[in-house]
């Protein structure tokens, strides 16, 4: 998705045909760049993608999409729509894995669509049967972006469906989370049914209790009403409430005190007492309280469950958008195949911009590879014939052919993933705050109940057991059991809206304590991409250089163009452009001969003054890669390229220091660059050239000192360290592997969310403590009344919901994350 928030041009207004003014794209409504303005064209588009999509929509007669679309929504530009061929969708292996077909040829395919953002998308996607002959039905879930397409296998292929969706502006991937999804759906339904049934039981038990409290009933009526209460209680306990007994049993078996133990104890004791009292027609019954406890606790569990899963979902959908195909060479012809189909010895083509599908050796061509994902190195690494290339690296320069050496789990990245899994298995078990408290709680309540029974046996033997059971029921940790999940769920929900996805509530508790924060550099403190950091000399030459580099695929070329765009320099056209791989580029702009590239390349075509030599050395000293620019045979400027710090990095580092955290930088990048970044940020501990294994080691060392370790990073090289650390935080733009092993994912760019995460965690823990205090206060009051023999069902029925209500209100009203 490409949410764009700064679009100011109102959609719907016909684009004005004057060049230079802000013209809205016919499809997405974003401003049309100057390069695509054509006064003669009837319709103007910001990119080829929008053009394709618009024409596909019109050809199918689906213009109503534009009327349905919510203009206030985020604008989405369908980058590169209609370009991908989806050849792998027609591979027999694909059908085997992703298509479910029945005997009549009716097949089902679940696809994850990108760019789904509003009601109009639902409308458009569900019109697929009108666009593609053979599609029977398409249903889209707008929240997850997963579309279920049913089609006739005889008349249409998965590839045709994918291409049609792509043309409509929704690039798609097969949805991989299907078995998981099915499991979750069942789990969700089970939860919902449990809540519904226990709610019905609680409501009806309450009604019969009301009638009893009204008094003046004949014994026969009272027996009937009590019997009704007992019936609803038994249903609530046997059907939805059995989870508490199951939980208590397994907790007793493992000899760990769990919140379920006091709950089950109170439920069982109260029900038995109530049943006995119903039978003998005298004494108290607590049916309305017992059923209310079951209902409230189940609601608390469901809320907690949902919130944690939402974070998992978001992470998984991000993972699903990483490409999974390779261009296999068969008889000198390229075939797009799933990476699983690759074998040792296969030859694959890796074009510029592609990700390397498997570990291999270059057999033809030479290029440069961005391996920052694997090692954290910010500078692309050159590889020529015979050089090894690792899976996951991105080809940034030119197309090469690779011979595959290892695939899947045997690749370097696969081994790192295995390290991740191993670290995750050895992670110490989490002791939840609520369970820790529950342990002391159970012991205290049981002791108190025994004391109460003993005291009352002397004074009033007939009612002694009854008083003890009343104590068990009113002190049933309902508010406690509800307080933790709700406070955490509310915080996790607020965090998610603020772009911070937290996978488990207990993470927040660990983040609240001051500890060691290990920061990765590339992609975390820095942007993780090559940028023009400085330009020494004649700055006017930038526009000409951008013109020469406009079509270049090299990272430096793109950075030049981006720098010119940032400076709002209008694009001019260059002639006779020649790109020399690994050296630079030449061209002519309005009669001026421009040469740009490495020192050696430029000096071979132009003369350089000693001043230029000094500037070049200056760039090197600052840890930047120098690029020379010459005009008409004379070097006139030196541009320095590097990976600049994020704008908010200094403020974030300062804020983390202020919160009492100890900071250290652990990066795979070159030590001088790491040192320079650390000095700029005022971080004393910094380590460069750190391998993934070394990062795990660094985490272990910090843990050995007894500190809570938080690892912040983005690459696969951080993934293993995430698992080893107390909390792993993946920043925006992270690799799939690191998302899987991280506890927290920041979906907003920059380090601002990181500071928010720490502050929010601290506030959440404060809310948790306050909730505990409130519910314990209630229990002390109610327990005191019970010991004194003053508790009657009415008091219990009032105190119980009141305590729950107050903690719920406290949880939801507290500002933990966001504004």
């Amino acid at each position: 998705m490409t949410p764009v928030t700064d679009a100011t041009t109102p959609r719907g207004a016909r684009p004005a045909r004057t060049a230079g003014a802000d013209v809205a794209c016919e499809h997405c409504g974003l401003p049309v760049p100057a390069g695509r303005l054509d006064p003669d064209a009837e319709l103007l588009f910001c990119c080829a993608g929008c053009d394709t999509v618009h024409h596909a929509i019109r050809a199918a007669g689906l213009e109503r999409y534009y009327d349905l679309r919510d203009d206030a929504d985020d604008r989405v530009r369908p980058d590169g729509a209609g370009v991908r061929r989806y050849a792998e969708f027609d591979d027999p292996a694909f059908r085997e894995v992703h298509v479910v077909a029945d005997a009549t040829g009716r097949a089902r395919l679940d696809l994850y669509l990108e760019n789904v953002h509003c009601a109009a998308c639902v409308w458009l996607v569900e019109r697929l049967p009108l666009v593609v002959e053979g599609v029977i039905e398409a249903r889209l879930d707008a929240r997850t972006g997963v579309a279920r397409v049913e089609y006739d296998e005889g008349s249409v292929s998965p590839g045709e469906i994918a291409r049609a969706l792509d043309r409509l502006g929704y690039p798609c991937r097969p949805y991989r989370g299907l078995p998981m999804e099915e499991h979750r759906r069942r789990e969700d339904r089970r939860h919902l049914i449990a809540i519904g049934v226990s709610g019905a039981c609680a409501g009806n038990a309450m009604v019969s209790a009301f009638a009893l409290w009204g008094g003046a009933l004949s014994p026969g009526h009272a027996l009937l009403l009590r019997g009704l209460g007992l019936l609803f209680t038994l249903v609530a306990l046997v059907w939805p409430g059995r989870v508490f007994f199951q939980g208590a049993l397994s907790s007793l078996r493992t000899r760990t005190m769990h919140m379920d133990v006091p709950v089950a104890l109170a439920l069982a004791a109260g029900t038995l007492q109530g049943a006995w009292n119903t039978w003998r027609g005298a004494g108290e019954t607590y049916f309305e309280s017992i059923t209310a406890v079951v209902f409230l606790l189940l609601v608390g569990r469901f809320v907690q469950h949902r919130q944690q899963r939402r974070a998992h979902d978001a992470v998984e959908l991000l993972a699903a958008v990483t490409p999974a195909t390779a261009r296999l060479l068969r008889d000198e012809e390229e075939h797009e195949v799933p990476v699983e189909a690759l074998a040792r010895g296969d030859r694959v083509v890796v074009r510029a911009g592609d990700r390397v599908p498997a570990d291999g050796r270059v057999v033809a061509g030479s290029s440069r590879f961005d391996v920052s994902l694997l090692t954290g190195e910010s500078r692309p690494v050159a590889a020529g014939e015979g050089d090894p290339v690792a899976a996951g690296a991105v080809n940034v320069a030119a197309a090469v052919r690779l011979e595959v050496e290892s695939t899947g789990a045997e690749t370097r990245i696969g081994r790192v993933m295995e390290l991740v899994e191993r670290s995750a298995r050895t992670r110490p078990p989490i002791v939840r705050l609520a369970d820790r408290l529950a342990h002391g709680f159970v012991v205290a309540v049981l002791a108190l109940a025994i004391v109460t029974a003993l005291v009352w046996i002397r004074r009033d033997p007939a009612n002694a057991v009854e008083h003890a059971i009343a104590l068990l029921i009113v002190t049933c940790p309902c508010a406690l059991g509800l307080a933790t999940p709700l406070a955490i769920a509310a915080a996790v929900g607020r965090a998610a809206r603020a772009g911070i996805l937290v996978k488990g509530g207990e993470v927040l508790e660990r983040l609240a304590r001051p500890g060691v924060v290990l920061l990765d550099k590339t992609g975390t403190l820095t942007r993780g991409e090559v940028r023009m950091v400085s330009l020494d000399g004649d700055r006017g030459v930038l526009g000409d250089v951008a013109a020469v580099e406009a079509e270049g695929t090299h990272a430096i070329a793109r950075a030049f163009v981006a720098a010119a765009d940032d400076a709002s320099i209008p694009r001019t056209a260059a002639r006779d452009v020649e790109h020399v791989l690994g050296h630079g580029a030449r061209g002519t702009v309005d009669g001026r001969a421009i040469v740009v590239g490495s020192g050696r390349f430029v000096r071979a075509h132009a003369s350089a003054s000693p001043e230029i030599d000094d500037r070049e050395r200056g760039m090197l000293d600052r840890g930047l890669s120098p690029v020379l620019i010459a005009r008409d045979g004379q070097a006139v400027a030196v541009a320095g390229f590097g990976d600049p710090l994020r704008d908010d990095a200094p403020a974030a580092v300062e804020a983390l220091h202020a919160l009492g955290h100890e900071l250290a930088i652990v990066s795979g990048d070159h030590p001088t660059i790491v040192r320079a970044v650390a000095d700029e940020l005022g971080v004393t501990r910094a380590e460069g050239s750190a391998s993934p294994e070394r990062k795990v080691e660094a985490v272990r060392e910090a843990r050995a000192r007894g500190a809570a370790v938080v690892m912040v990073g983005d690459g696969v090289n951080d993934a293993a360290a995430f698992s080893g650390a107390d909390v792993g935080v993946a920043v925006q733009g992270s690799a799939e592997a690191s998302l899987a092993s991280a506890d927290v994912f920041l979906s907003r760019e920059g380090l601002g969310p990181l500071v928010e995460l720490f502050e929010g965690a601290r506030r959440t823990t404060a809310v948790l403590r306050r909730n505990f205090a409130v519910s314990i206060l209630y229990n002390v009051v109610a327990g005191g009344l019970a010991v004194a023999g003053e508790i009657d069902p009415l008091v219990a029925a009032v105190l119980m919901p009141l305590s729950s209500l107050s903690v719920v209100t406290l949880s939801y009203r507290s500002r933990t994350f966001g504004a």
Partner: protein, 66 residues
């Protein structure tokens, strides 16, 4: 007593019917996605051969626009 003898079983039947209806609704997936159907209701034309709607796009009428 006599009136309760009728009213209570009737009330129990209602409760049982309500619970059964709820369980049925959940099991048939009506609570799975609570967002998209709310968007779908705004669409005036339904698609799909199952609903007996012709394959001819009804949006054709506006094809000359633009």
């Amino acid at each position: 007593m006599s009136i309760l003898g009728i009213a209570v079983p009737v009330a129990l039947l209602f409760v049982a019917a309500a619970i059964a209806a709820f369980v049925w609704a959940v099991r048939t997936g009506q609570m799975d996605d609570l967002e998209t159907p709310a968007m779908r209701v705004l669409h005036d034309d339904e698609v799909g051969s199952e609903r007996g709607v012709s394959r001819r796009p009804s949006g054709r009428r506006s094809a000359d626009r633009g």
